[in-house]
């Protein structure tokens, strides 16, 4: 006789601990759930709408400067600390959590052209229009001490930018030439020049720390090697590059903020074509900074807005603006990748969320789960036209909007002309130049 007995694996229905959730047996057969996708679609739609509803990126405005904010610097060790230099030579150190100014230093006469912190966070350097490089202590003067720089170096020419090495006691300034300084010496260890125009910005590569990138006002970007004390290569663009920023996660990638409204991401090994041309601004791009993840960067523009670009996209994913914000001169992405700071002409530093609709503060596990679920839904249905339209919608000030329209028309006209020229000329005599190649004038070895 055959005895049939029920035998079940207790793993399938017994909880390991009583704190575990009860297992709810479900049949996942898709034929039993015919409305699964429509339901998810509705959820995705709602999530998208809510995202837009909650998109309030502006957090705070730090006011206190008495002139336009010309440069910003992050503290390498403290997330809450940020330094700013203004056009009247004033340097302020801010506490972001309290949204207060901790310390004010009259550092220079004239502009503070550049500011950078030492990698250890104990001191910072400023350069100004008064042809000096000054090193300051990060902590305020102790009781009875006067506010004085640790070191002051008097130079022969105006310094327009400064950056500190990521690991060693070396910093670099730029002006007429690129000077590399030892912190202990009053004269540069080595100076490098290529061409005679003034250099507006110089940056150390955060990964291969001997690499330097600079951009000069003769429209070129020059790369240097500190070890061999020689320039490496130069690329000449159509218009002047204001500043560059290295990708903190990819050693050979940098992005240049150009006067021709575009940003160019280059692979430094192949400078003849940029990896990506990022265009959305309607005026000169003045500053750029990468997020610490290296996936996105933020750009500040003369058109009174800042934009966030994914590294591999040519269009921005976000645009931030407020009525009161004027030309944005400098921008920084904080080290926790959550916030963006921008300093602008009208003397304010503004704090933004990097993710516009993100909820701040501690999330409960349920909130987190809901967030993740919604994120996934949005991702899944992102290409549905309705959802896409909602997700993409941004409000723009009229000036920017009209400029965009205008530029679109201009661009269209140019394209039409090109096409016409191609049509009406001998085949092969006129070639279409791609957008990427168009803006590169030459690469000089």
């Amino acid at each position: 006789m055959k005895v049939k007995m029920l035998s079940r694996n207790p793993d399938n229905y017994v909880r390991e601990t009583k704190l575990d959730l009860q297992r709810v047996p479900r049949n996942y057969d898709p034929t039993l759930h015919p409305f699964e996708v429509p339901r998810e679609y509705v959820r995705a739609l709602n999530a998208t709408k809510l995202e837009r509803v909650f998109a309030k990126p502006f957090l705070a405005s730090l006011d206190g400067h008495r002139d336009g904010v010309n440069c910003l610097a992050k503290h390498p060790k403290s997330l809450a600390t940020v330094l700013s230099g203004a056009c009247d030579g004033e340097v302020r150190i801010w506490n972001l959590t309290k949204r207060k100014c901790n310390r004010t230093i009259q550092a220079h006469e004239g502009f503070v052209r550049g500011i950078c912190t030492r990698f250890c966070g104990t001191s910072f350097f400023t350069v100004g229009d008064d042809k000096t490089v000054k090193q300051w202590k990060m902590d305020g003067p102790s009781y009875g001490e006067e506010e004085e720089p640790l070191h002051t170096i008097l130079g022969k020419t105006v310094y327009t930018g400064i950056d500190h090495h990521w690991k060693e006691a070396v910093f670099v300034t730029c002006g007429q030439q690129v000077d590399i300084w030892d912190e202990q010496r009053t004269s540069p260890v080595c100076s490098m020049t290529w061409g005679f125009d003034s250099i507006s910005s110089v940056k150390f590569n955060p990964i291969e720390t001997f690499l330097l990138g600079s951009c000069a006002s003769d429209r070129n970007i020059v790369l240097y090697d500190m070890r061999q004390s020689t320039p490496l290569k130069k690329v000449i663009l159509e218009m002047r590059t204001n500043t560059i920023c290295w990708n903190p996660m990819e050693a050979f990638i940098f992005t240049a903020a150009n006067e021709d409204y575009n940003l160019y991401t280059f692979d430094m090994r192949a400078l003849d074509t940029p990896v990506m041309v990022h265009m959305d601004h309607v005026s000169a791009v003045l500053d750029v900074d990468y997020s610490p993840t290296g996936k996105e960067f933020v750009s500040a523009s003369f058109d009174k807005s800042i934009r966030i670009f994914p590294v591999d996209k040519s269009r921005s994913r976000e645009v931030y603006h407020t009525k009161r914000m004027q030309h944005v001169i400098c921008v920084k992405w904080t080290s926790d990748s959550k916030y963006i700071m921008c300093g602008s002409d009208e003397m304010n530093i503004r704090l933004w969320k990097a993710n516009a609709s993100e909820k701040l503060g501690v999330l409960t596990s349920r909130e987190k789960a809901a967030k993740d679920y919604n994120q996934k839904l949005k991702e899944k249905f992102q290409h549905h036209p309705h959802i896409k339209r909602i997700a993409r919608h941004r409000h723009l000030p009229k000036s920017i909007y009209s400029q965009i329209q205008e530029q679109r028309i201009m661009k269209e006209a140019r394209r039409r002309k090109e096409v016409n020229r191609l049509k009406h000329s001998k085949p092969g005599s006129v070639s279409i130049v791609s957008e990427k190649k168009k803006h590169i004038v030459a690469v000089v070895k």
């Binding site: 790369l223 490496l232 050979f252 990748s337 070895k445």
Partner: protein
């Protein structure tokens, strides 16, 4: 290279020109000399100017210009030939003369050597440097390619990629590089120094250190463990007390109250021996309570419940018993407290009784002496009460001991007191538990009956009878009709209260059983009685197999000898006070009468005794083997389940009724 080539061609050109000039001006005239010289100078300058276009060759040209056209040490002019001088031409004549071997060698060597190339200009050099450096760097950078690629392709990146562990600086390190500067800081430090607050690692003041040293670690641990245990116990008992307080059962509380009263009484006894004055006060209290009881209408059968019971009492034995019990209680409560010696005597007497004879036997004797004892109720109430009190007498000395302990250890610390309290409480708890057990045991048997056991047995018997009588009523077999007639006198009551009315039929049923056994037992089975109690239903089918035995028994139906033998040992039991018989009303008397008639020719007592013995045996705990052979191992004939298994799910001491429940109706009696 182009430049070099250009220079060479230029040089060749100028040489040709010179040669031409030379050929023209070969015959030199002094008159023309000056002018010639001037012309030559100019020409030379021109040449220089032309050649100086190329910066590189300047030096060479200067060299050339230095030597005059006419006399040149270095340039051997090849006059007349108009051709360039070639080395081979020079070597030709040398070959013949052996004395110029050294020169020859030198010339050969010159011939084999090449001219050194010109150094590159600075820009070129820099450019080459740059290119090399760039290639180097881009190669160095390409080592990141795989990592970058991996990061780009990764579905998810979690930052920070490498989490650094934060290092905590010990306070000494922080303090070493720090000095009090501001007045406030100085003040704070002064305060700290005054209190001898150490700034470095073990941040303890001397006082704290001393206090730390005061108790050794082991002591502290032991002490702490004790305290913890005490606290745990306290909380445990508190929780338990709370739980008990919440119990809604009236019965439980009644039992509890009784227990308390009894305890109070006992304490009173003790107190009387130790401290008469306090005892007097207690006595007064008790007296007062008695007075209150007398004044109140409690336990007077005048309440709502009592009235309802009174209505029921006509048909319900239990109700009647309950009422009587209450009355008895009233009496008990309103009785004046007896002298101590009396109570002691009483107790002793009862105890002797208990030792000598079981209660049941006691009752039987009574039955033999007087009227039918089955209907007597409450006559052994006193014994029951004493029995209940018995278990209490055991724990008493324990409690006493505990109190003594307490007195001894009074000087101990608070914790010890706490612990002692718990000990005490625990002992008390045990006592009360015993009491409760005793109470519960007593409760299981019907209250107010003359003897609980007897009554239970009787009830069981009557139920059996009742059922059989019904069968018989239907089938109406030939046997004794007179009893049937008796039965029919009160048919309504039979249905309502089988315990009372079915009893007379017992004899018939025994007889009937034989016939029924012959005719067919299925009829019995066909009419299963829907009686709630398990015992009844269990017993029912077993009666038939026993039928032949009972037939034998029937032959020696009434054995006087048996009766007499059981009679002798229990003379004293008569001393047990009989309670309220007067309360029995007429109906009960009728019943008695009926029962008497019914049992007239039956050996009821012997039957009862036997059945009782069986019941007692059944009620004893038994070993039950619950092991299931074949679960988890081989089973079959001759295979015993393993010892381990038997231990795990095996043998229990189980009371018979639980066994019945476990095994169902097939339990053999």
């Amino acid at each position: 290279m182009n430049v070099v080539r250009a220079a060479e061609s230029l040089l060749a050109l100028s040489q040709q020109e010179e040669l031409e000039d030379l050929s023209k001006d070969d015959p030199l005239s002094p008159s023309e000399d000056e002018g010639d010289i001037d012309g030559e100078r100019k020409h030379q300058k021109l040449l220089e100017a032309i050649s100086s276009l190329d910066g590189k060759n300047r030096r060479k040209l200067a060299e050339r210009s230095e030597a005059s056209l006419k006399v040149s040490e270095f340039n051997v002019t090849s006059e007349g030939s108009g051709e360039k001088l070639v080395l081979s031409d020079l070597l030709g004549p040398v070959k013949t003369s052996s004395s110029l071997a050294a020169v020859k060698k030198q010339l050969n060597r010159v011939k084999s050597k090449k001219t050194v190339e010109l150094p590159l200009n600075k820009e070129e050099v820099e450019r080459i440097h740059r290119e090399v450096a760039f290639n180097k760097t881009s190669q160095a950078l390409s080592k990141w390619d795989p990592i970058v690629l991996k990061n780009r392709q990764a579905e998810q990146l979690v930052f920070p990629l490498k989490k650094e562990q934060s290092v905590f600086a010990p306070i000494e390190h922080v303090l070493s590089g720090w000095k009090a500067r501001t007045p406030l800081e100085q003040e704070v430090f002064n305060l700290l120094h005054k209190n001898k607050q150490p700034v470095t690692d073990p941040l303890l003041t001397p006082v704290e250190k001393a206090s730390l040293k005061a108790m050794s670690l082991e002591d502290a641990k032991v002490r702490r463990a004790e305290l913890q245990r005490a606290r745990a116990l306290q909380s445990y008992y508190e929780a338990r007390a709370r739980r008990e307080k919440k119990i809604k059962s009236k019965k439980y509380h009644k039992v509890l109250k009784k227990g308390k009263a009894r305890k109070a009484l006992k304490e009173f006894e003790k107190l009387r021996k130790v401290n008469p004055t306090a005892a007097l006060e207690e006595l007064e209290k008790i007296e007062k309570a008695r007075m209150m009881e007398r004044m109140s209408l409690k336990h007077q059968n005048s309440g709502k419940w009592a009235k309802s019971k009174a209505i029921m009492a006509k048909y319900d034995l239990e109700a009647r018993q309950a009422m009587q019990e209450q009355l008895a209680r009233n009496k008990e409560l309103t009785q004046k407290l007896q002298v101590a010696s009396d109570s002691e005597e009483e107790e002793e007497g009862v105890e002797e009784e208990g030792e000598l004879v079981p209660d049941a036997v006691n009752e039987i004797q009574m039955d033999a002496n007087g009227p039918n004892p089955w209907m007597l109720r409450n006559h052994s109430r006193g014994t029951k009460e004493i029995k209940v009190q018995d278990p209490e007498q055991l724990p008493e000395p324990v409690a006493h001991e505990a109190s003594e302990n307490e007195e001894e250890e009074r000087p101990g610390a608070e914790e010890e007191i706490l612990l002692n309290e718990f000990e005490e409480r625990r002992s008390l708890r045990k006592k009360s538990g015993l009491n409760q057990d005793a109470e519960l045991v007593s409760r299981q048997e019907p209250k107010g009956s003359s003897s609980q056991e007897v009554l239970s047995e009787l009830r069981a018997l009557s139920q059996k009878l009742n059922k059989e009588s019904q069968q018989s009523g239907k089938q109406n077999v030939s046997s004794v009709r007179t009893v049937l007639a008796v039965q029919r006198e009160e048919p309504t009551e039979a249905e309502e209260e089988p315990l009372l009315l079915q009893r007379p039929e017992r004899a018939h049923t025994l007889e009937e059983l034989e016939e029924l056994g012959k005719e067919g037992c299925f009829q019995n089975k066909e009419v299963p009685r829907p009686v709630g109690e398990g015992q009844q239903s269990e017993r029912n089918p077993d009666n038939q197999p026993d039928a032949p035995k009972e037939k034998k028994r029937k032959e020696q139906m009434i054995d006087l000898q048996n009766l007499l033998t059981t009679k002798s040992p229990s003379v004293k039991s008569l001393a047990v006070p009989m309670t309220v018989e007067e309360l029995e009303d007429e109906e009960e008397r009728d019943q008695k009468q009926m029962i008497k008639e019914a049992f007239a020719g039956d050996d009821v007592i012997r039957d009862f005794l036997k059945e009782k013995r069986e019941a007692v045996e059944a009620s004893k705990p038994k070993d039950v083997d619950l092991t299931l052979p074949g679960w988890g191992e081989w089973g079959g004939m001759g295979l015993k389940p393993s010892a381990k298994k038997r231990r795990r799910c095996g043998c229990f001491h189980i009371h018979s009724h639980t066994i019945g429940n476990l095994k169902g109706p097939s339990r053999p009696l």
